[in-house]
């Protein structure tokens, strides 16, 4: 390994190292604060090393991993999100009995897996990254052993994720059997040249698509989402909703850039149908839900549908639109699930809609931040969500994709309904709030994280140009 390769890989190495350090430290002294400190130090070191790695990028480290500007950008995104989840988790697990250190260890491992995913150019590495992420997530989802729903969610996630991974693996095996390589670039070239069995390759691509679509929770692979989101501890839900989807989107983006937008019409139609279904199914299922975590889960299905629209209709600026939308989505999801974890009490989580009744009068700060997050999800101007949606609409108008556009518009209205339901209940008089769900103590770190996220959302809504420039340099540098 050359020095440049080592430098390029250092962000990933540091996160892996941090996982080991946290594990070791836990065997000497169990402490929530210490573990959090080590975790944050690990993330900080990796983030700093990104700048270091940026100087040598792009570097191909073995055929498996490519550290280029796209990878660096997404690595930064994944690490920042991971750090935010750690901060949210600290307050959440502080309130609860049981071991806490393993949460950070698993979190670091999962983030490492996501980091491998965003930098991979080879299906073997994709598999390793995916499994590192997913297996850590099984444990994280089922982390609260005393809570049957948490266990159930972990088990469901395990079974379904393994099924989908098997599909992916089988697809890759078929592709390998036909093409003789597992590197993304070479595979795309070979497929373009032809001279292989079309049906086999197409079927195999469909199988790979199942694996990717499962992680993104697109219809019809969405059914695990609400149950897993509901059962998992709230900080973990935040992680599932953001990092694992963000990393998979990065993979999709890399493939999209390699293919160069030359996607056959039939596939485009298929993707359009999936996008439209995801939007409608997600939003309609969220419509009358009374469980806030499930509402947000269904809403995330719809949001990934929107994201797919950016891929389909984006044309030349699809990578940019997708990335911007993803960042807005990640920040808001982190914020909304973070809010659930911050205001949850000792006995149970604040997940019922009525737990939020009159929240504004009890905790005006949190309620205000939550409302800002929901507004961003709904795409109200001066929030990041608006800019993301504006990208979609502008792209759609450019391409004349009217069916997709119409669906986006209808679904925005549907979404507004249930987001406003939550907001309205927060400002309603406090009458039916069930005891046990409200946190008595304020999680300072969590609240600070949420405030920072809210500021970031508004900042991105008012001054989006800076981030757009950054994204352009990242995705166009590929």
């Amino acid at each position: 390994m050359t020095e440049a390769q080592f430098v390029a890989l250092s962000p990933l190495i540091l996160v892996g190292l941090a996982a080991l350090v946290v594990m070791l430290a836990a065997s000497f002294k169990r402490s929530n604060g210490l573990a959090l400190g080590l975790t944050l130090a690990g993330f900080a070191a990796s983030l700093v090393s990104l700048a270091w790695a940026a100087k040598v990028a792009p570097v191909q480290v073995t055929p498996l991993i490519l550290i280029d500007r796209l990878a660096l950008f997404y690595l930064g995104l994944v690490f920042l999100t991971g750090a935010a989840v750690a901060l949210l988790g600290h307050g959440y697990f502080e309130k609860r009995a049981g071991y806490r250190d393993e949460f950070y260890m698993l979190l670091l491992m999962a983030t490492l897996g996501a980091g491998v995913l965003v930098a991979t150019t080879h299906f073997a590495a994709l598999f390793i990254g995916l499994e590192l992420l997913t297996i850590s997530l099984y444990a994280l989802v089922g982390y609260t052993r005393t809570e049957p729903r948490s266990l159930e969610a972990g088990l469901k996630y395990l079974v379904l994720a393994t099924v989908s991974t098997s599909f992916l693996l089988f697809g890759v095996a078929l592709l390998y059997a036909e093409l003789g390589t597992m590197e993304f670039g070479k595979m795309v070239d070979l497929i373009r040249q032809g001279g292989h069995r079309e049906t086999l390759v197409n079927g195999a691509i469909a199988l790979v698509g199942i694996g990717i679509g499962f992680k993104l929770a697109l219809v019809p692979l969405h059914m695990w989402t609400p149950d897993v989101y509901e059962g998992a501890p709230a900080p973990v839900t935040a992680f599932v909703a953001t990092v694992s989807k963000g990393a998979m989107t990065a993979v999709l983006l890399r493939l999209y850039l390699l293919v160069g937008g030359a996607i056959p019409d039939s596939v485009m139609t298929l993707l359009s149908v999936i996008a439209i279904l995801s939007m409608f199914v997600g939003n309609l299922l969220a419509l009358l839900q009374d469980n806030v975590k499930r509402i947000l889960a269904y809403s995330s299905i719809a949001h990934l549908g929107y994201l797919l629209v950016a891929f389909i209709a984006g044309g030349n600026f699809a990578p940019e639109a997708v990335t911007y939308y993803l960042i807005a989505y990640m920040a808001t999801s982190l914020g909304t699930f973070g809010m659930v974890s911050v205001i949850s009490g000792r006995e149970r989580e604040a997940e019922e809609l009525r737990d939020y009744a009159g929240l504004f009068w009890r905790r005006p700060f949190e309620a205000g931040v939550f409302a800002a997050m929901l507004m961003s999800l709904a795409g109200i101007p001066l929030t990041a969500g608006f800019i993301g949606k504006f990208y979609l609409l502008a792209a759609g108008v450019d391409m004349g994709a009217w069916v997709l556009l119409g669906s986006v518009v209808i679904n925005s209205a549907l979404g507004l309904f249930y987001y406003l339901r939550i907001v309205a209940s927060m400002y309603a008089a406090e009458t039916s709030a069930k005891p046990g769900a409200a946190a008595r103590e304020v999680a300072l770190l969590g609240s600070a994280t949420l405030a920072a996220l809210a500021l970031c959302l508004i900042w991105l809504g008012v001054f989006p140009a800076g981030l757009i420039t950054l994204i352009r340099s990242a995705v166009l540098g590929v």
Partner: protein, 102 residues
């Protein structure tokens, strides 16, 4: 030595995959579901070996080792979860674990 044609190998892997999937879909006992998942993973691993043999590359076998390792880790976590579930629900019925729905 005459080798087995690749497509035969792939077909075998495909059949195994189908068996595994059917097992996941029809077995109610969660332990059998986990076993069926193993079959699915390993059928894919077999396909990799077959494919690697076609191109005379070690890659297929490397991925095979990856898969076997990962499957072991997965089963470890899975069994731990099943154990916890059995402790709390006193059942191994996969359908019983449906507290969350709708």
């Amino acid at each position: 030595m005459t080798s087995v044609p690749m497509d035969h190998g792939l077909l075998l892997a495909g059949l195994l995959f189908a068996v595994g999937l059917a097992g996941v879909l029809v077995r109610r006992n969660i332990l059998y579901v986990l076993m069926s998942l193993e079959i699915m993973m390993n059928s894919a691993a077999l396909a990799f070996v077959v494919a690697g043999a076609r191109w005379s590359q070690p890659d297929g076998q490397i991925v095979f080792i990856f898969i076997v390792t990962v499957a072991a880790a997965e089963v470890a976590v899975g069994l731990a979860l099943v154990y916890q579930m059995f402790k709390r629900m006193k059942t191994l019925d996969a359908d019983a674990a449906s507290l969350m729905r709708g």
